[in-house]
Symmetry: C2
Subunit: 367 residues, 2 copies
């Protein structure tokens, strides 16, 4: 049993994901450590801010610093100095980014790094090998992710390939103690999404990612797709909505039955001046912030909100002290962790509806 | 008694500077918080790294965020969230930077900020007013600092003006609990330096800065000037060598009898990749660092050296995570604090000579 449900409230669930590096209470929000670091934040700070699980990108780590170096360091946990649970993504998602994909075939995905020029052939077998060598607690299959707006034919092909690759991943995966999650595709075509989910649910994965969303599709399409997928996934397995997102989106998806989230939203947003609060978000670089003596979020009890005011963080921004990015990233992560922690408690107490209502004005969908 | 000597070993001294925000053991090294923040480091981290006293620049704070804002925040300590001792410099030193000084006269210095365009007339009376409103524990007089290589006539004029301004500062300063330090000038002309030191030593300041050094003069000229100055300063007052420096320079000056230091060397150096160690310095951006599993300094017990290796910090640099600047700044500050703490203990134990020998290979003069 890698996942056990502890409570439900409507569609919302509270559970525990058991990993080789400890139990992860769900719903869980994973900050993104693409290249082995959550930008500007130390492992101690991430834990202090309430993080129990991170996600890194295995292809980014292949490019820099290379899998061999991480193996020599004692694995990804040791390399990153992260003592708790850790996911790695396969790299499949990078196909939708500009200037990376060189060739896509049934064999796999050929990538070229825009920064180093390194060329890698990612196959289902090679991404399993890499993630097993990295030693993540949860590995993700290689999926074929079509772009938003792709024609039905292309999405159908990607859906079939995703199922074929998932089977090959399952067959080649053997690391004890490492969980393996599938990733559903199918774009926003209900029948294709249903087919993909059905095919993957029939294989013995430890959990299921819902992939190919938050890439430019309409909000109502995203919502409908999640809703349609959830009912087809095994109730006893963890469900992971990949790349989501803002407080409002996370709350909406928890309500539908999602257990696991990841997004660069709080950290990338923080590095661009965006401050998350319980009542929406704002930009710390606005001139008025230079005279605002309130904490970043008056409702927040994080270390940054206890220690500094908006005017000071704005001043750090104006005077080019990168510490402002750190302070915003810390606060934004702490807020997301407070959100999922509160959601979990609310589910267990049977008051998720009112909890969601309290937070409903937080964040803006689509960012 | 604002300063008391607790021990001597040859020329080296150990003392206590008493301020309104606590006692500062000397020798002391002050990290530089020009605009109210030591770049990348929080007040908690600075204290954890052993810092007991910081220095900010009152003119930089006049430009951003403005003295009124800091007053409304409850003073500079409250604005910065720094609970311990704090110096402010007057701004006089900015004359040697390019593109700031508009006009220099007996009345004062007219500055124009290259970033905001704000024009300020700094007079001895106005810099006292500003520093009293900021509420620093130690204020510095307005001095007239000639550039390195200035002709004798210009240095003579600046020396006379510095004495006149020091008298006006003393006459207009009245904040209880705030100490006031003079700044000697005279370039590297022994007789002018002697005249400046003699004139200022005759006025009732709480301590004495040795100014106008580390601005491009020859190393032996600097050393000779410090040596010549020390003997003319009152033995019962703290001596502050402004803008110094590297481990080697700090050790050399402690040996001559200096008590107080400040320099952006560890933090600015850190933000440019320079790592200080007990056996010299190196550049973390060098390719070989990507495979170096040693701590930044194997002899260091700071939190960064306990937690991360060179390869990981190099990786953060390569992948553009500004956390590398933070980690280097923290380590470099911790090393400087360990240096002065060790020097103090060595003086009190009568073994400063051997202590200095142990550290003698650390750092490179002139950076």
């Amino acid at each position: 049993m890698t996942f056990r449900l502890e409570g439900r409230d409507g569609g919302a669930r509270a559970g525990i994901l058991s990993t080789a590096h400890g139990e992860v209470p769900t719903p869980v929000f994973m900050p993104v450590a693409t290249a082995g670091s959550v930008r500007t934040l130390s492992p101690d700070e991430l834990q202090e801010a309430g993080s129990t699980c991170l996600i890194a990108n295995s292809w980014s780590l292949m490019v820099r610093p290379g899998v061999e170096h991480i193996e020599r360091s004692g694995g990804l946990h040791a390399f990153m100095r992260w003592p708790r649970a850790l996911f790695t993504d396969s790299g499949g998602f990078q196909t939708i980014k500009k200037g990376i994909l060189v060739k896509r075939s049934d064999e796999g995905l050929k990538f070229k790094s825009p920064t180093t020029g390194q060329v890698d052939m990612l196959t289902p077998e090679s991404v399993m090998d890499v993630q097993q060598r990295l030693g993540a607690d949860v590995a993700m299959v290689l999926d074929d992710c079509p772009s938003a707006g792709a024609a039905r034919g292309a999405v159908e092909e990607a859906t079939a390939r995703t199922a074929m690759w998932a089977r090959r991943c399952l067959d080649s995966h053997g690391r004890k103690g490492q969980l393996l999650f599938a990733i559903t595709q199918g774009g926003v075509f209900p029948d294709l999404r249903e087919r993909s989910t059905h095919e993957l649910a029939g294989m013995a994965f430890d959990g299921y990612g819902i992939g190919g969303l938050m890439i430019g599709e309409r909000v109502d399409d995203m919502r409908r797709t999640i809703e349609g997928s959830i009912g087809l996934l095994p109730v006893e397995k963890a469900r992971y909505l990949m790349g989501v997102g803002s407080p409002a989106e996370v709350l909406g998806a928890i309500a539908m039955g999602v257990d696991v989230f990841d997004s660069a939203f709080p950290t990338r947003g923080g590095r661009h001046g965006s401050v998350l609060t319980r009542t929406g978000k704002y930009d710390i670089t606005r001139g008025a912030m230079g005279r605002d003596a309130r904490p970043l979020d008056p409702g927040c009890r994080c270390r940054v909100c206890a220690g500094f005011d908006r005017a000071y963080v704005h001043h750090l921004w104006r005077t080019n002290d990168t510490r402002w990015m750190h302070l915003l990233s810390y606060h934004n992560v702490a807020l997301m962790q407070e959100l999922v922690r509160g959601a979990r408690e609310a589910v267990l107490a049977g008051r998720f509806g009112s909890f969601r209502e309290e937070w409903s004005r937080a964040g803006v969908p689509g960012q």
